[in-house]
């Protein structure tokens, strides 16, 4: 065991754009790697998180699996962070909230333009969709929020360096964007 700060990350109902933006810290990731190690994350392929300090959650809650993953993160992370517009208010996936779920599925899998072998996927391994996409703070307690679509690399850097230095994280005006 090392004394490094342990970070886990995941994307729920997101596009991985926030993860891509995180990687835009570029060579600063080397300095970060001196201080932290990554646990469960798409960057490591570790499947479950154990005793982490910081959990970064991208995306909103769209299906039953998202709920389980989010609860696993809350249980194992001391500090849980909502990253990006979708985690904070559902974002673009939540724009399906105004259309009944059955209509969405019908359009995507039965009657939409160019659909072949029309059938609604029903493999038991597929997580069931929620009737509405929800922001993650409605499901578990969230400690910090990083707005943006995506938050810029500098937002990640400012937030993590504040936290790692033991400061209360804060974002100056230039780093606060909802778009």
């Amino acid at each position: 065991m090392t004394n490094k700060i342990r970070i886990a990350t995941t994307s729920l109902g997101g596009c991985f754009g926030c993860h891509m933006s995180f990687l835009d810290i570029d060579e600063r990731i080397l300095a970060l790697a001196e201080l932290v190690e990554f646990d469960r994350s798409p960057l490591t392929d570790i499947e479950h998180c154990t005793n982490c300090d910081i959990g970064l959650i991208e995306g909103g809650v769209c299906n039953s699996e998202n709920v389980h993953v989010l609860r696993e993160f809350r249980k194992n992370c001391k500090i849980l962070v909502a990253v990006g517009a979708c985690a904070i208010n559902g974002g673009l996936p939540a724009m399906r909230n105004f259309i009944p779920l059955e209509e969405c599925l019908n359009e995507a899998y039965l009657y939409g333009i160019g659909v072949e072998n029309a059938q609604i996927p029903n493999d038991p391994e597929l997580p069931l969709l929620l009737d509405k996409v929800r922001p993650i703070h409605e499901v578990v307690k969230i400690d910090y929020f990083l707005p943006g679509c995506p938050p810029s690399a500098d937002v990640f850097w400012k937030f993590l360096t504040d936290l790692l230095a033991g400061r209360e994280p804060s974002l100056p005006y230039d780093l606060v964007h909802y778009d």
Binding site: G90, C149, D174, V176, Y178, D179
Partner: protein, 239 residues
């Protein structure tokens, strides 16, 4: 000393008949607001301009300045209240900034930035609201309406047309237009009306202009709303 109030301890002169908002703006003191506009009768509905006057909460845009008032404006308590009010405005409508063409030029967003609002705090309503794109030059996206009534006032007071009104109460409150069909195309609004340009959010939009200025180079992307607001409104109050 006569005709003077203090805001956060700073003495500010006022002239008879001025509201606290008018006196503050003239003196270069920003009080956050959304439903207030210096050219229209104050409405006092958004409550962002709540200030503490001699210990009591009042709306600065409607409350008259009176000699000797001791006013608190820029305090942590009021900033927290204003942030909660702004969060309520966000969750009550559907404000998806990344897909809104008003992003960067939106006063609701800019006030939220100014208050360092990082989340919505409350559960989201996701109300089902319509878009009226019937008019050839304008559109209404009801998802983004915050019921500030600026379009209602602009249409009545400047355009002398009465195109807009607010109907219903509480959760059922909504913006309506003056046409049998309920559609904007059947009203007498025109693109040059004040009412077409006054919306602080992306609820009333001019078509075909959306991305003339790229995201990142827009009004509030690098300037805070307090600077923008004071620069544009000081002149108008003085008229």
């Amino acid at each position: 000393m006569s005709n003077s109030i203090t805001i956060d301890g700073k003495p500010i002169p006022f002239s008879e008949g001025q509201t606290i908002m008018e006196a503050a703006t003239a003196a270069g003191v920003y009080i956050p607001h959304l439903c207030h506009h210096p050219e229209y009768t104050p409405h006092g509905s958004c409550k962002l301009c709540n200030v503490k006057v001699n210990g009591r909460i009042c709306s600065a845009c409607t409350y008259p300045a009176m000699d000797g008032q001791d006013i608190l404006n820029n305090t942590q308590e009021l900033t927290d209240d204003r942030q909660k009010i702004t969060q309520m405005l966000f969750v009550e409508g559907n404000h998806f900034c990344p897909s809104c063409e008003k992003t960067g030029n939106c006063q609701l967003q800019a006030v939220a930035y100014h208050l360092n609002m990082l989340d919505d705090h409350f559960p989201l309503f996701y109300p089902t609201r319509a878009v009226d794109a019937s008019h050839e030059a304008l559109m209404i996206d009801h998802n983004r309406c915050i019921f500030c009534t600026l379009c209602v006032r602009a249409s009545q007071q400047k355009d002398h047309k009465d195109v807009f009104a607010i109907s219903g109460r509480g959760l059922n409150k909504h913006l309506i237009v003056n046409a049998q069909s309920g559609l904007l195309k059947d009203t007498d609004i025109s693109m040059n009306d004040q009412a077409a340009h006054i919306c602080p959010t992306g609820a009333i939009l001019i078509k075909h202009t959306a991305y003339q200025v790229p995201i990142g180079e827009r009004l509030y992307d690098h300037k805070q709303i307090d600077q923008v607001s004071l620069a544009s409104e000081t002149l108008k109050h003085d008229k």
